[in-house]
Symmetry: C2
Subunit: 235 residues, 2 copies
C-alpha cells in the first residue's frame, strides 16, 4: 500500500493559547486534503511550544544566555565543543542545546521544548476526535543530530495513537527463521519522512502521513524511544 506525505499549507502564525488542532483541520480542509481516519499528523515542535507558551526571553547578544538556558533544561551535559552543548534534557532526550531554538521565533526570544510532548500530541488527537470526528495519530517532531552521522533528521519527541516502536520479536523471515532486526522505530521514521515535505524555511509546520499500516495504531509513548542511560553504551 502506498503512503502519502502531504504538507499542510496555510497554517497561520501560532501564538500562546491557540488551538493547534483546529488550525490544522481548517488548513487541511481548505487545501483540499481534509483529515481522515487513519491519518498520522506530524506537528513540528515549534508551533506546539508556541501554543503552549514555551517561549522565553533571551538576550541573543549574550553568549552565556543560551548556555544558561540549556543547563536549566538539562539533567546532564554530555559534551561541549565551542558553542555546542550536547545534553540529556529533562525529558531524557540526548540532543544539541536541549532542543532550544532561536529560529522562527520573535527576536529576543527562544523556544523551549514542550514539557510533555506525548500529552501535547494526545491533546491534539483528542481535539480532532471531538471537533472534527476523525481518529488521527499525532507525532510531535523535532530535528536532532546523530552521534556518528553528519546532518540532522526529524524524530518523534511526542506520540499519541501510534506505536513508537514496532516490535517484531518472534516474526519470521522469508526462510522461516526469527528476524535479527526486531524493533523498528516507526515513529522516528514517520517524523523524518514528514520532514521531507515540510522544510526548514517554509511555513509548513505540519504534514499528513496517510496510509500507514492500521496495525501500527496503538498506544506508543516517546519514552519507548528513549534509551535508558543504563542501557546506553555511548553516554
Amino acid at each position: 500500500m502506498t503512503i502519502e506525505l502531504i504538507p499542510v499549507h496555510g497554517i497561520p502564525e501560532i501564538r500562546e493559547g491557540d488551538v493547534i488542532a483546529d488550525a490544522i483541520a481548517t488548513a487541511a480542509a481548505e487545501q483540499g486534503t481534509p483529515l481522515a481516519d487513519g491519518d498520522c499528523l506530524v506537528v513540528t515542535q515549534k508551533i506546539v511550544s508556541k501554543a503552549e507558551g514555551r517561549i522565553v526571553a533571551i538576550d541573543a547578544t549574550d553568549p552565556n544566555a543560551k548556555h544558561a538556558l540549556v543547563e536549566a533544561e538539562s539533567v546532564r551535559i554530555l559534551r561541549r565543543r565551542g558553542p555546542l552543548l550536547i545534553s540529556e534534557t529533562t525529558h531524557g532526550f540526548v540532543c544539541a542545546n536541549a532542543g532550544i531554538d532561536l529560529s522562527n521565533v520573535d527576536d529576543g526570544t527562544a523556544a523551549l521544548l514542550p514539557i510533555d510532548s506525548d500529552r501535547s500530541a494526545q491533546r491534539i488527537r483528542e481535539r480532532l476526535a471531538a471537533q472534527v470526528g476523525v481518529a488521527c495519530a499525532v507525532i510531535v517532531s523535532d530535528t536532532f543530530g546523530r552521534a556518528w552521522r553528519n546532518g540532522l533528521t526529524d524524530v518523534a519527541i511526542g506520540v499519541a495513537g501510534l506505536l513508537a516502536i514496532l516490535d517484531l520479536r518472534g516474526t519470521l523471515d522469508d526462510r522461516g527463521r526469527e528476524l535479527e532486526v526486531t524493533e523498528v522505530a516507526i515513529a522516528d521514521e514517520v517524523a523524518g519522512a514528514a520532514e521531507l515535505v515540510m522544510g526548514k524555511a517554509t511555513k509548513v509546520p505540519v504534514a499528513i502521513v496517510r496510509g500507514l499500516d492500521p496495525a501500527w495504531f496503538g498506544n506508543g509513548r516517546v519514552t519507548d524511544l528513549v534509551r535508558a542511560p543504563g542501557g546506553d553504551l555511548f553516554r
Copy 2:
C-alpha cells in the same frame, strides 16, 4: 507537493550476478507503477549484497564465527556487550555487527555489506537510464541502531543522483534570520521513509519515493553522511 512512498512487489529472489535494475523496472511496471524521471529508488542492502556475491559461509552454531566476521569487516571495535559488537566498518559506518546479517539469506550463510554502496547505487542508476530511459536517483539502505534512542531506522549506505545532505547554510527563516538547523540528512530521511512500506519480513526489498524536490537531485555520496572520527564526540 505530495510525496508518495510506493512499495515494489514481485521482485524475485536475487542471486549473484542478477541485474537488480532490470528486476526492479520489470516489477514496478507489472504492478502498474512504472519508474519515471525524478523517482528515487530505495533498494535494501540485502539484495545488493546478494547480487554482488557478498554472501559468505558461516557456521551459525559457532558463536565465534560471526564475531570473527565482524572483526574482519571493521577497522575498530567501539563497544561490546554480550553478543553485540558496535564497530566502525571499513566504510566508516558505526553500526552493530558491521552490518552483517543472517536473516533472509540461506542457512549457513551471512550477508556482508556491499564493498562500495555508492558505486552499487550508481550502477543501478546508470542501468535504468540506459535500459529503461529514466533518470532516477538511487539509495542503498540498511537498518542501523542509534546511540541514545531505542529501535532501529533505515539509513542510506549508498547514494547516486541525490544529495545526501541538504545544506541550508545561508537560508533565512521566516523572520529573515539565518537558520540554526542547516544540514538536513535527506538521504537518511528518504531511506527511513521507504522502510515504512517495505517491512522486514515481507518480500519488498525496494520502494519508489516519488515527488522529491527536483532541487535535491545532485551528486551526493554516502561519505557526506559519515562523520569523521575527528569530528565525532561519541566514539
